[in-house]
Symmetry: C2
Subunit: 204 residues, 2 copies
């Protein structure tokens, strides 16, 4: 393992990410994390003050620094078709690296009053929406069907992300190994854009 020469702080953070993503905030314990980082529980609080602070740091990094940059591909300056292919491809590769990330983020947001909700409002405060504008322009030009942007966006996100959220369910039901599951989502890199684009190009 190359992890042996990481600083203690980094080892704890890596361990915490692993544990939190696997179990969620409620079911993860500082002792889990300390053991996984091969240190003791006092060090966890020494470096991060509290379980909650540590969680917030990992949550923020996972969302703001990992997920959002890829999600922002939809605001890139690219032709529609290339953009959708690029988004699905990059998001899929990200999620193959971090398959528990969507469940981690979203499961901490259930219940209206979740503390994570506020955190997210700050993060994505200033987001523009070039993608919506692009769809509307292409529709105005007659290149694609006129659609409700929110519906298309929701479907696109759903098709890419949901398989990872239900990964274990899919693996169980279809009897897939992790490699086979990854082959399945790789195939979706073509299947998803195909479905979206076929729909958009079919002027109703």
């Amino acid at each position: 393992m190359a992890k042996l020469d990481l600083s203690t702080e980094e080892k704890i953070k890596d361990a915490a990410k692993k544990i939190f993503l696997e179990k969620g905030f409620g079911s993860a314990t500082t002792r889990d994390i300390a053991e996984c980082a091969e240190t003791n529980i006092a060090l966890v609080n020494y470096y991060f003050r509290s379980k909650e602070k540590l969680f917030h740091e990992i949550f923020r990094e996972s969302f703001a620094e990992t997920f959002m940059p890829v999600a922002r591909i939809l605001n890139d300056n690219l032709p529609l078709e290339a953009k959708i292919y690029k988004f699905v491809d990059h998001m899929t590769e990200l999620l193959k690296r971090d398959p528990l990330l969507p469940m981690f983020v979203l499961s901490e947001m259930r219940g209206e009053n979740s503390k994570m909700c506020e955190l997210l409002t700050e993060m994505q405060a200033e987001e523009q929406n070039q993608f919506q504008q692009q769809l509307e322009e292409e529709a105005a030009k007659g290149n694609i069907r006129k659609t409700d942007f929110n519906q298309v966006e929701a479907s696109l996100m759903a098709m890419v992300i949901f398989p990872f959220i239900s990964m274990n369910m899919i693996k169980m039901k279809k009897n897939l190994t992790t490699e086979e599951f990854y082959r399945f989502v790789d195939e979706r890199k073509k299947a998803i854009p195909e479905m979206i684009l076929t729909f958009l190009r079919d002027r109703a």
Copy 2:
């Protein structure tokens, strides 16, 4: 409240469902549940033996008795188009009644070793797949495109269920009230079948 004349056992179960769905097993406490049911913690164990037993009962009911019957619509004996519309409609209505249900079920299944995984294998042991056969037959007849069934199934499930999993995220990002969100998923009752069927009918 009509709940006042429920038996204590039923009040506890209702409360437990509410709390478990909101917080998940790990973050829910017996004291939460007792308070929500307006009784004391001893009663929870008096009727259900343990927190885990109570959870299992609710998990099984939620999945086997609530979710699966609607999912089985895909195996009904119905024309393809009608079936997809019916499935999306019924599933959406179910999830509007119980919006936290998908996150509840799926969040307890992360980590390969989750105890819920075994439970699920038993439940859906004997499932046939009339829907797959139907898609293959219609493709053979030339009525629809030849496709990978698993991809279509995954996309259909994703488009219906994912909005509820990311409900709070969507409500926050788009500034929606619950009513507005429900209007949004109601619109998807048309949008989702339209996208799937447009894709299937477009023989590549």
